[in-house]
Assembly symmetry: C2
């Protein structure tokens, strides 16, 4: 949905508080819907031929619920969702993006969800002119309510069900703390000796939004995700920032057909390089994709400084030799 | 605890039903105790110099609770727990094991627990003359009660809070289903080409008991664990078996200082090679340790047939070359 009068739209704290409050409420409703569908029969389809990218009726129902709640409360805001169908994308993508855009991953970790593994998330990230300003992420949790909502607004800190989180203040990686890394990590990065012993205890959850939230919560000390979409990262990246952490974006992945050895990590400020109200399109937002490294500032910078991207050519040679 | 009159002790279904009912109740109490401690301040100690094996006051409190409840109800049964202190081990280990022994992991996944990651378990496995006959495993879960108890008795099937689980009936590995593997897997095993594409979507939880339960529940299609202790496996292995799955035990790990290339996987029937009432000691149970591969019978056998143990010598050479 695109439209509305943008004159006078500002992202002052009063406005952001209102959006944060509503986003947290809406994320809770989305979470309840997902909890209802979890471990019940699902209708599963695949978005790709290899059947590696499943989507269920729960994903669609949850995106519809989110869209309805958002457009009822904020009719002038834009909405960009993972499960937008082709017609919606067609209609919306060429148009200028409104200053406020809600970026939705109604169900991140669909494969876990349909397998019955309770590691998934429903993620809302609200952007103002491309930069994340409000987040609300529902996570299933063994609490009395069966779930928590982590939420934040720019400058307001990160909270769980209203209660502020302590700031991320680790100064160095600790080999005994948890980290999450993607499956293909070893094939894409080499880790310098200094970091190797301190890299941490590896977990793999299969949900990027869940893993970003775990960094914000101080559960894991850092995470790397190699090719997230904007809906995977829009909510969780603000949760990490507002908890005192840092979000580093890696250089372009396909520079000359290979990963650059130095990854050129730099703080992610916005999902579009330069915003121009009335000109920047929804398509530009939708097409963002980049490696991210998130953690407390010192830990994330240390890790970034001790990783090298592996050249694809070297990878291919190695694969060939192994045959 | 060791003792009691063993004359006439049998593992008939009436006896096992009673033990299963009580084990499930006790596991629920243990789970509630853990849920109370989760995300509260913990007193953490380490059992090793490298500080890789943490233990908390929650582990100890939970083991005490389990011991009290078991010895009150079944004073003649033996108890073997991960957190037995040196004096308990000293007193108990040389003695003959009673026919019934309760094997306890009060808190499996301690590092997750103390980090605030809700992937942990409290595991009870009851052995009769070394073979698992009753299991009850508490798992934190985003249900209204915040947790579930999976339980089973020999011949009775696996249940969750009393409701029977469907039988594990997958006939072949599916590349789109979930699997859990240990961190060092790639360094220890090579995977034959046939299996590679079908190996599955990798998750790593950091709790063996949790991962065994996920196989029993049909969430993951198989799991491998390279060096579990008896308390990691005693409960979960029966959950898998009674859900229609198979538990394969790999050959000795330290044959001539290297992993044998063929792993000699065979069904785990008992945690002691041959039981002799009055002679088999608690120490023999405590010292069991072997690789396990669990899944539906066809899937587990297919995976077993497509794995090779890597020779340690080759590993060392490879490490040397990489420097």
């Amino acid at each position: 949905m695109v439209g509305g009068d943008r004159a006078g739209v500002t992202a002052d704290d009063f406005t952001l508080r209102e959006i944060e409050r509503d986003a947290a409420k809406i994320a809770r409703e989305a979470g309840e819907l997902l909890r209802w569908h979890f471990e019940r029969a699902l209708n599963v389809q695949y978005k790709d031929e290899r059947q590696s990218d499943p989507v269920t009726n729960a994903d669609y129902a949850c995106q519809r619920l989110l869209e309805e709640e958002i457009s009822r409360r904020f009719p002038e805001h834009g909405i960009l969702g993972e499960e937008d169908n082709a017609a919606e994308r067609e209609r919306v993508d060429g148009q200028p993006a409104p200053d406020f855009v809600w970026v939705l991953d109604p169900l991140d970790g669909t494969r876990n969800f349909l397998s019955g593994l309770p590691l998934y998330a429903s993620s809302i990230g609200v952007l103002y002119r491309g930069a994340p300003v409000v987040a609300a992420v529902f996570l299933p949790w063994p609490s009395d309510e069966g779930g928590i909502v982590m939420h934040a607004r720019r400058g307001g800190g990160t909270r769980i069900n209203g209660v502020s989180l302590p700031a991320l203040n680790a100064t160095a990686p600790d080999g005994n703390r948890l980290v999450t890394l993607p499956g293909g990590f070893g094939g894409m990065f080499s880790v310098r000796k200094d970091l190797r012993r301190k890299a941490g205890e590896l977990r793999m959850t299969g949900s990027i939004a869940y893993e970003l939230a775990m960094v914000a919560k101080g559960v894991t000390q850092y995470t790397i995700t190699t090719a997230p979409f904007i809906w995977d990262a829009a909510g969780g990246s603000l949760l990490v920032k507002e908890a005192g952490g840092i979000v580093l974006q890696g250089g372009e992945r396909k520079l000359l057909g290979r990963l650059p050895a130095g990854m050129n990590w730099r703080p992610l400020e916005s999902f579009v390089p330069s915003w121009s109200s009335g000109a920047t399109t929804m398509k530009e937002l939708r097409e963002w994709r980049a490696p991210l490294l998130l953690g407390s500032p010192n830990v994330a910078r240390y890790v970034a400084g001790n990783l090298r991207g592996k050249a694809r050519v070297r990878q291919r040679i190695r694969r060939f030799i192994r045959r």
